[in-house]
Amino acid sequence: MKKRTSFSIFKSVVIALFLREIQTRFGTKKLGYLWGIIDPMTQIIMFSLVKSALHDRGMSGIDYPVFLATGFLTYNFFKALMNGSMSAFDANRALFSYRQVKPIDAIVSRFFVEFLVLFASITVFISFGLFFGLNISVKVFNMVILAVAWLGIFGIGIGILFAVITNFYETFGKIISFISLPLFFLSGLLYTVDSLPPIAREIILYNPIVHFIEMIHGNYFSVLNTDYVDYEYMIFWTIVPLFIGLFFYLKAEKKIIAS
C-alpha cells in the first residue's frame, strides 16, 4: 500500500466521519432531518406570539419573525458547535482504535455537519419567508456571510478548548450546559442592543456572542446598524480560545486517544 501524506489521511478520515455522523444522526430516525428546523421554528412562533400578545409595536421596518430567525439560526449553530465538540470525543471513542482517526477529526467533521444543518435550515426558512410574504431582503449580503463564517470559527475554537477540558474534568461540561441556559436570553436574540438601557448595554456587550448576533442583525436589516459591534473584541475571542485549545489539544492528544 502506498504511503499517503498526513493531509490526505486527514481528509479521508474527516469525510468518513462526516458520512458516519450523518448516517447515525439522521439515517436511523427518519425525523432526524426535521429537528434542525422544527426546533427554531417552534421558538420563533412562540416568541412572535408572545410579542404580539404583549401588543408590542415591534421595530419599524422589520418583520419580527425574520429578526428572530436570523438570531436563532445562528445561535443554534453556535450552540450545536460548542456542545457537539464537547461530546465528539466520547461519541467516537471506539473509532480511535484506528490509527488514522485523531480526536480532532471528530470535531472537524461535526463542524461540517453543523454547517450543513445550518445551510439546510436557512434554505427552508427562506422558502417559508417567501411563502408568508415576509420581508427577507438582506442589506449587506457579504457581511452576513462573513459574520456566520466567523461565528463558525469562533465556535470551533471554543469547541476544541472545551472538548479538551471536558475530557479531563467531566464536571466542566455540566457547568457549561448550566451557564448556557441563561445565555439564550443574554445573547441579543430577542432585542437589539440599542433598545436596552445603558447599564444593561454595557454588561451585555461583554458577551462575545452578542457582537456576532449584532453584526448579523446590523448587516441584514436596512434599519439597523452595527454601531455596537467591537471587531477587536471579536478577534480576541476568536483567536485566543482557538490557540489555547489547539495548544492543550496537542499536549493532550495521546492521552485522549489512550483514555
Binding site: 458516519r20 447515525t24 471506539a94 489512550a258
Partner: protein
C-alpha cells in the same frame, strides 16, 4: 519492521507505578511470527495497542517504516450505532478507498 527505543510504559494505580515495559529497546523484523506471553494483566494487550499506534509509551518511541492493520480482536473498533456494513465502509474510507471500490 517495528523499532522500539528505550520504551517505558507504566500505569499509575493508587499512587504506585505499575510498569509494563521498563526501558526496552528491540527491533521486530518483518515476516516474523511473534508470540507475546504474559500473565493476566501483564500488559500484552497494551503492548499490542502501542505497536498498533493507538496507545503511547510513557517514555521512548515506537516507529515503523511499514503500514499495517489496526490491532484486531482487542475489542473496540466497531461502532454500535452503525450497521456492520456502515462500519466496514467507514474502515474503507479512512484507508482512502474510493466510493466505487467500496461498493
Amino acid at each position: 519492521m517495528i523499532e522500539l527505543k528505550n520504551v517505558t510504559k507504566y500505569f499509575k494505580t493508587e499512587g504506585e507505578k505499575k510498569y509494563i515495559l521498563k526501558n526496552v529497546t528491540l527491533t521486530i523484523h518483518s515476516h516474523v511470527n511473534l508470540g507475546i506471553l504474559g500473565r493476566n494483566g501483564a500488559g500484552k494487550s497494551t503492548l499490542l495497542r502501542m505497536l498498533g499506534g493507538i496507545d503511547y509509551p510513557t517514555i521512548g518511541t515506537i516507529s515503523s517504516p511499514n503500514t499495517f492493520s489496526w490491532p484486531m480482536g482487542l475489542a473496540g473498533g466497531f461502532q454500535g450505532s452503525m450497521t456492520g456494513r456502515q462500519n466496514i465502509k467507514f474502515v474503507c474510507r479512512i484507508y482512502g478507498q474510493r466510493a466505487k471500490q467500496i461498493n
